[in-house]
């Protein structure tokens, strides 16, 4: 059997479990969050001061996070950064958290906008270095509820700078889907209405979307957390997704592919990010997005610094730049997510933006299940069963796609 992986996974699970228990009680930042028995982040040095920029910066990011005006001339926060710091930005867009993790493992990138299902994996594998928040002046203005969270810190030590958070949404073409869906049933039970034109996110983490739907529709399964599924619950989610597959036209993980599919009408309903809806709308696709009544899965992203970063000074300057009020507001509005910097709310072009995206609304984010890595020790605190880990989800995903 695989002893070492099991031990390491167990250690990581303990960290997650304990941290989750700590943070769910109190909304605000908690110093003990992330403290755990077994989860030992490798002992890596932390940057002491920010020196002169190296002249270059290599970034792995989600689509829409590193904009240099090539998508929209008005959407550009890279050029001013390059002018200010002299760090030339090379960015690589990743479609999934798995891609991000594997890109960071190459050691060729300095910083990454990791979601909660990538952060702890990067910390545990020693690919992300602890971050000295003292070197990031704008860290001061980050919402306290995002600081020292289980997915971005270990033992109170931050491993990155919170960037923003949001939910995965349901998008549909208004000329094909006429009943204005407000439930994920549009892509599950009712997917047959648009058979061949439904789309879904191509990653094992999408299993959580099915689990979230089952929490509402089949309470008897007893799913409390869509990332903590025992074998039986996983099976139910897999069955649901296999049924969904019959109606799927194509899966997406490349955001441009989804934009083009909705524009051409090859996809008419499916899961999406706000930024994709914005891009599709900009290309005159008649699309609408909605946060379904069941709630949604979502993400809370953190800018991390690679442990083997060749340009750490530029990386720290980027960290401070990307969460500075103005830029954080720009990214938030472009990507369609709640900014992490509370001063960003005064900088948005739409004054009501932070309210619309519930920037500081903890009650709202209770309904959004942030991506996290499923592990064997159930994240919902159950001790009488073993949960399915991400390796199991990966196999299940291959099986679902058939």
């Amino acid at each position: 059997m695989r002893t070492t992986p099991v031990l390491r996974a167990a250690a990581a699970a303990c960290a997650l479990l304990l941290a989750a228990a700590c943070s769910s009680g109190s909304g605000e930042g908690n110093d003990s969050a992330g403290r755990a028995h077994g989860f030992h982040a490798p002992d890596l040095p932390m940057q002491k001061k920010v020196g002169k920029g190296e002249g270059e910066l290599n970034i792995v990011a989600w689509a829409g996070y590193v904009e240099d005006g090539s998508n929209d001339p008005d959407v550009d926060w890279v050029t001013p950064f390059e002018k200010k710091t002299g760090c030339k930005v090379n960015s690589k867009v990743a479609g999934t958290s798995d891609e991000m993790v594997s890109l960071m493992k190459t050691g060729q990138y300095d910083t990454v906008s990791a979601s909660g299902d990538a952060t702890l994996r990067l910390i545990a594998s020693g690919d992300a270095a602890p971050v000295n928040t003292g070197l990031v002046p704008n860290y001061r203005d980050i919402f306290p509820s995002l600081k020292r969270q289980p997915f971005n810190s270990v033992d109170g030590q931050m491993y990155g700078i919170p960037h923003g958070r949001g939910a995965n949404l349901l998008m549909y073409r208004t000329d094909e889907v006429l009943d204005e869906p407000d439930s994920w049933s549009a892509v599950f039970e009712d997917a047959g209405r648009h058979a061949g034109y439904v789309t879904a996110y191509d990653s094992p983490i999408y299993i959580a979307d099915a689990a979230l739907y089952l929490m509402e529709t089949r309470p008897k399964l007893g799913i409390k957390d869509p990332y903590a599924l025992d074998e039986k619950q996983l099976e139910a989610a897999v069955d649901l997704l296999k049924k969904q597959r019959k109606s799927i036209g194509e899966y997406w993980s490349d955001y441009q592919k989804e934009v083009s599919a909705f524009k051409s009408g090859d996809s008419v309903v499916g899961t999406t990010w706000q930024v994709i809806a914005n891009l599709a709308a900009a290309e005159k696709a008649p699309v609408k997005v909605v946060l379904p009544k069941e709630g949604a899965t979502g993400w809370s992203d953190t800018w991390m610094v690679g442990a083997k970063a060749k340009n750490p000074n530029c990386a720290y300057q980027w960290l401070d730049w990307i969460v500075s009020p103005k830029v954080n507001a720009q990214v938030g509005e472009w990507f369609g997510e709640a900014p992490a910097n509370r001063k960003a709310c005064a900088e948005t072009s739409d004054p009501g933006f932070c309210d619309t995206f519930h920037a500081d609304d903890e009650a709202y984010f209770q309904r959004v299940r942030f991506w996290t890595t499923p592990v064997k020790e159930c994240l919902d605190g159950r001790e009488d069963v073993t949960c399915t880990d991400y390796a199991r989800w990966t196999k299940a995903w291959t099986e679902i796609k058939g």
């Binding site: 992986p5 996974a9 994996r121 594998s125 036209g249 194509e250 051409s264 099986e399 058939g402």
Partner: protein
Amino acid sequence: MTTRHGERLRLAGLLAPPLIWLAAAYLGSLAVLFLSAFWTTDSFTTDVVRIWTTDNFQQVLTVPVYRTIALRTLSIAVAVTVVDALLALPMAYFMARVAPARLRGALVVAVLTPLWASYLVKAYAWRVMLGEHGLINALAAPLGLHGPGYGTTAVVLVLAYLWLPYMILPVYAALERLPEQHLEASADLGAGAWQTLRYVVLPAVRPAVLAGSVFTFSLSLGDYVAVQIVGGKTQMLGNVIASQVTLDLPMAAALSAVPVVLIVCYLTAVRRAGALDSL
């Protein structure tokens, strides 16, 4: 004695670089790939853990979904090869034996031209054509038909298009080499067009078709890009390997052994048929 020695040295010097490249870079990387298939990963960090296990191969052989995908990939590769052979035979025959000599060169250039364009551009062009409001649906609509959309059919269509030149060229070369006298002799002996085709032309081009099929078959078997672009939800072996590379490298390595085995089997069969002698 000394000259012979010197010659040997020169020969060794000449052959060493390509041989070292072949052994180290090519066979070496294949060996490392095969070796890593016996390792496992940390299920949390997805780091490769060097613990010896045959788990991956067991799964490849026993988990039904891998068999389904392998069979689907094999069928697609076979279908692409058959489609290409059926298209290439008449085209190559026309080019080599019917078209006037002046046109011949132009036709060869025409067949080769698509190879100058990027693979991705061609695949995306097909994506646009096959789309819901694309050219194919627009042409089919007046007839009350609907195009194939994205899916397995589209994959076969696009791959057959992409690899067609690799089939036409060897068949064209074989037909060009076919002596006119053979066809005349066949006619003189009273054979009709079909009989000549069946007993003279086909046996002469069979090795060329098999040689062309090596390209179309192996290129289709390993493809994972075209299928992502026009395949809809279709998974081929290449896709599964590509998605496992980021999550479970040893599993990806074990899965890679499947197309390698299939191609080795195919090459062995083709070699037995004598197609590789004329390459």
